[in-house]
Symmetry: C2
Subunit: 333 residues, 2 copies
Amino acid sequence: MKKDELTLVKEIRDRFSLPEDIGIGIGDDAAVLNLKSSAILTTDLMIEDVHFELSYTSFYHLGFKIVSVNVSDIYAMGGDFKGFLFSAGVPETVSDQDFKELFDGIEDALKHYGGFLIGGDLSRSKNIVLSGFAVGEAEKPILRKGAQAGDLIFITSYLGLSSAGLNLLNNLSDDEKRFIKSIRNFKNCKEYPDRLLKFKGINEILERHLMPIARKPDKFKHIAKAMMDISDGLLIDLHRLCEENKVGAEIYLDQLPIHPAITKIADYLNIEPMNPILSGGEDYELLVISDRQDAKEFGLIPVGRIVEEKGIYLIDPQRGKIPTKPEGWQHFQ
Amino acid sequence: MKKDELTLVKEIRDRFSLPEDIGIGIGDDAAVLNLKSSAILTTDLMIEDVHFELSYTSFYHLGFKIVSVNVSDIYAMGGDFKGFLFSAGVPETVSDQDFKELFDGIEDALKHYGGFLIGGDLSRSKNIVLSGFAVGEAEKPILRKGAQAGDLIFITSYLGLSSAGLNLLNNLSDDEKRFIKSIRNFKNCKEYPDRLLKFKGINEILERHLMPIARKPDKFKHIAKAMMDISDGLLIDLHRLCEENKVGAEIYLDQLPIHPAITKIADYLNIEPMNPILSGGEDYELLVISDRQDAKEFGLIPVGRIVEEKGIYLIDPQRGKIPTKPEGWQHFQ
């Protein structure tokens, strides 16, 4: 990077302003947010070679994703997203253009979610470190606690896409990785290399891994008794929710929706398709517990129920009831 | 580190609990804080070999300091500190004991300031990266904006201690560095190596650099028109405050208090003592602007006044009015 910290901070400050009635943004010792109810606060790190790899991830994707993973936690509490603070440690190899694209991604994500950048910190570092901090508010936060035996378990969309995307990305050629890295809008991209075109739905798979969209719970949060986001995988996250409530859960394997591209990618990579669906992380869909039989009408997909007996069990129409370990599907097979 | 992330998170969660009336702490997707007024939010990074060096800095110091530097920003807004979120990226070389000491430092700092750890994230990283987020609240935040020509400029204590401490630390032998690293309580330590004993006040100097205490403005914030913390040095921070208010400032050199150890260390290291005082960073004292002539009675030290003419000027009883550059004293000499 050629620009110094003061120049960068000035550029960022000019680019991200905050309406006066909402508070005071970048430029003072700290930001001020005028909230109407309880503050909801969360933070998530993304570190190079741990959470992402630059061979196929663009700085734009990184900027978008660091917002999404944090907003997902706010949404998982039933909160409204308001403000975002962003700190970055970057090595000298990161160019001014990379830096601009990082903030393009942050800006587009913030526009999507309707929140504002209100602070942050910048520093040199050996590897790229991104630290996001999201602030929201909620009249009545929805916790992981609140589930009882008899309640139904819902998810908000297909699972396993991010994990399948990651698996596929790691198996691409350097040229294919560079191409993926250049995509800003996966929805509109029609020019995939021939080999990738056979994976119908490839755009959804790649987008879910590289720039996931947090799931807003507005349509169903009023019927949720407990909620969390699925960031580490359905089995482990459901296990955490059940631990919190001292209950167990049954998942009906035949009710789990399977994205068409997952089957193809699993076949291509020679993996079990249920593996990413049950244990793949980073989908940022929501896990919703409700006692409402009509929850489908609010866009929720029923996949199981809460039971008294502790443990997570898969119910397979052929094989019956199968116990799992919280670590995931791979330990159960 | 031998412990896995889940074990560490569980230990941290057991150690740091949050009273129910304040909100919901570690363990859900996000934390909840019940605030009575506007939320004050800030974040600061500390990165190995950029912000600190492990040869003389203990993990305990790091834990304490990452809280202090963030709380300082909350105090600089006239806010009450409430909650802290802490993320760390650590290499495998960091031991379970190092990690425990890091959280000892965080715990002691939080006890000192009366705030709670309410969230965070942990990850592997090539170098140590600490990211803190402090949350506070204020009925009426005190901004950098608010100063007018004629107002008086105050500081809250000696300046330059942290910078002199850093200079001294970099000139110590390996044995001396190891000794310094082992100190938890600088106030009570009486066993400094002989060479260091000649610097009367050495404990204050080292403490200010390694585990600074943020300055609480409760006694004087009602008379402050504008305020900020001095994190990068008096000249540059005063320059920032003046820019925000489209004014200038005069600093009376003969009014700046000089800590006795600064003179000795400056002599020993062959540097100009005014250098750390005017341009040394990381003291985390407050810069307070007030029009109250009786501000001394609230513990404030007058050092200058706001003027219409832009620029920062030093007033020397011998040499008269000397213009400075915002970059600091070294550019002015």
